[in-house]
Assembly symmetry: C2
Homo-oligomer: 434 residues x 2
């Protein structure tokens, strides 16, 4: 069957909606090599500018899923759930959440990505644990999931390959930032993982891709509706990213902070958001009937140390040094640590989270391009939050460096706006889509 790409292009160019069959044929033709990239790139631009409606987005999502393998864990006889975050600065929630939910008896088959640009990636954080393997065979994933209830891996080439191919083309044609493309990319990957319920954490604010609440809410609603149209349970939280999440930003530092939370300590916002997301997952997959009981169960799993035990079990199962992770100062430390200080007294009016994320990339803790290598030791410890009052000379953040770099310390200090006006601090949870 040949697909009439010129007709499809003309229709989208003129603002017409595609049939699901046309979307399927276009993507299948692209993956199969019959439709050349120069036609698909023209389509990407037309769809970017004219938009794709819900039916078209569903069809695109299905086409991406159909291009590769899909997992099915139903024979393991337990409910399963997963979470996806749209990415932010200091977002280490997955490291705590996956073992926590597994400790509640729910399977968590989590496939994560690497960091690119100002946001970190879960895979990079896990790999800062010496020995930790993020690439497992499907058989190894299944056996670990059955035995332990949790597995955290990177995306193999066999999962939604069309999404990878399409993303590469979007990247070079400046068609990345389109809601329908983003929805289909995220949902297809999460669907292919095979979890019964998917919870989305849509970040909103100056450290997130979505800068305003309206676009974040719309994205959250579309992620949920598209996932449901494919027959899976879904919910979403829109959460604040107008300041980094927790204190640690940087790979090994974030693992340490995750360990703190798993052991009952750590920053309040990280703990609260993890429990909220865990409750949504437990409720979403049917393990708990209502929000109150789901939240209580998650709290018990954290406070009892069951989540921490599960984390250690996962680290060991995936080849990581579990003993080292549990020791204070077990994780590698940066050789140079300087304090970024307030130049004047006042109130923290704003924190440039994007700037802090970019700084971590610059000092070697993230990637400007895919090929960059990461130094797991470097990063930031954010010591002040929005609305805090500070004296002149107060420590705003610690800067963990591989080598002396005064400009990095100055950069960090500049990301804190100290003034005389008390800011309106957004709630951590801005909206729930259930």
């Amino acid at each position: 069957v040949t697909v009439d790409v010129r007709r499809i292009l003309r229709e989208k160019r003129n603002g017409r909606a595609h049939t699901p069959e046309d979307v399927a044929a276009l993507i299948a033709g692209y993956v199969g090599g019959e439709v050349p990239d120069y036609q698909v790139s023209a389509w990407l631009m037309a769809a970017f500018l004219r938009g794709l409606d819900e039916t078209e987005t569903d069809a695109l999502t299905r086409a991406l899923i159909r291009s590769g393998r899909t997992f099915d864990w139903s024979d393991l006889g337990r409910p399963s759930a997963d979470k996806h975050s749209t990415g932010g600065v200091g977002d280490k929630i997955s490291l705590i959440l996956a073992p926590l939910v597994a400790a509640c008896g729910v399977l968590v088959p989590m496939v994560s990505g690497r960091g690119l640009g100002h946001t970190g990636g879960t895979l990079d954080k896990l790999e800062s644990i010496p020995g930790f393997r993020t690439h497992l065979s499907p058989e190894a994933m299944r056996s670990q999931l059955d035995a332990l209830g949790v597995v955290m891996v990177g995306q193999g080439a066999d999962l939604t390959p069309a999404d990878g191919k399409l993303y590469a083309l979007r990247d070079v044609t400046s068609t990345v930032e389109n809601e329908s493309f983003i929805v289909s990319s995220i949902v297809s990957k999460k669907f292919a993982e095979g979890a019964d319920a998917i919870v989305y954490d849509v970040k909103c604010g100056n450290g997130a891709f979505m800068k305003n609440a309206e676009s974040a809410r719309r994205l959250a609603r579309r992620l949920v509706s598209t996932t449901r149209s494919l027959g899976r349970k879904a919910a979403a939280l829109v959460t604040d990213m107008s300041q980094p999440l927790g204190e640690a930003v940087g790979n090994a530092l974030e693992v340490r902070e995750s360990v703190d939370v798993l052991r009952g300590g750590g920053p309040e916002d990280v703990r609260v958001l993890t429990l909220e997301l865990a409750a949504s997952m437990l409720q979403g997959c049917g393990a708990e009937a209502d929000r109150a009981s789901a939240l209580a169960r998650a709290q018990r799993a954290l406070e009892s140390g069951a989540a921490w035990e599960k984390f250690l079990g996962m680290v060991a199962a995936q080849g990581g040094d579990a003993a080292l992770v549990g020791r204070p100062d077990g994780m590698a430390r940066a050789p140079v640590v300087h304090d970024a200080k307030a130049e004047r007294a006042g109130t923290i009016e704003a924190i440039d989270s994007f700037g802090l994320g970019e700084l971590v990339v610059k000092i070697g803790g993230g990637r400007a391009s895919k090929e960059d290598r990461i130094d797991p030791r470097v990063g930031l410890m954010i010591r002040r939050r929005l609305g805090d009052t500070v004296e002149a000379g107060a420590v705003l953040a610690e800067v963990h460096l591989a080598a002396e770099d005064r400009s990095a310390v100055e950069w960090a200090a500049r990301c804190f706006q100290v003034g005389s006006t008390a800011p309106t601090v957004p709630s951590l949870i801005l909206e729930r889509v259930e």
Copy 2:
């Protein structure tokens, strides 16, 4: 110098205007092979949907020109002029006009195209003359132009190669019908030919690409302003194409009709439009100071037989059989000729010129795709015009066929709408842009 195509794409996607430098770099990069087709196709779609303003269109035109050879005839010491038509059904004007203007002492270096779809092409018409060569070396063009004042050839690969490459990409990405792309494509080719003055004949009506007067007028104005911005003289006529031009539609038939006009006969509309365009060319290049003297000079060249002599000279110079062209029935005739007749008495309310053009393609006189071969003998002689009254059984058109084909005859008859209302017949010249 590398060009940041992603930035250029993002800017056009967001509705921003490009700098001339960015347009130049994009096209030069494409022609040079540094910018891949999948980025250019995304740009074509973005520019199609967001538009290009006059400055961007000028820059695109210059970039297309710069990609290849440009002719310069200034050393021949005479003014030069050319005409371009946007294409219609039965438009054989160039065959008469070029020798006529040359007979007035003005150089006419005319580069023409082949027909595609419902409109014919000047090259195909010329090639229905046995022996006529449409591919000459630049040296042969120059020497013929110097000696005879007129040369009619096809576009060599060295003239605006970027336009050919871009057109092929527009064709497969459904981005052909954009005014700025059309303007830059036409003007770049005409500019590269090297004529001092260019006159555009923008066809308007059901046999033309421009169906309504407003879009035709806008195209005419933009062709003129873009040509002037490049430092050449320009004018345009918007002319009616709500019925075929003249009687003959089809290659050899149109050559015969052109010969009739050159010898002082032929259809009135063909004669009038040719003289109007000749006057614009003569005035445009400065050979005549005002419209009245230009028109008088063109009329004299036609009536004196000087234009006809020039035509015969050109045919002979380019290898064609000039003696044959001058003989009644010298040109090859189709073996089967049938009359398409009116089913009822009444007034010709409308003529489906597009349908008649499509019919000629179907019976072998045009191309549905570039590879199709043409039968020069086939075509139509249109015997009735808009507003004519007819009896039942009156001949509407002769259908010249390579073989028996009743459906073609019925098709021709169906293109004439016979009713009881006298139509408003548009003027031949709808507007002058001077």
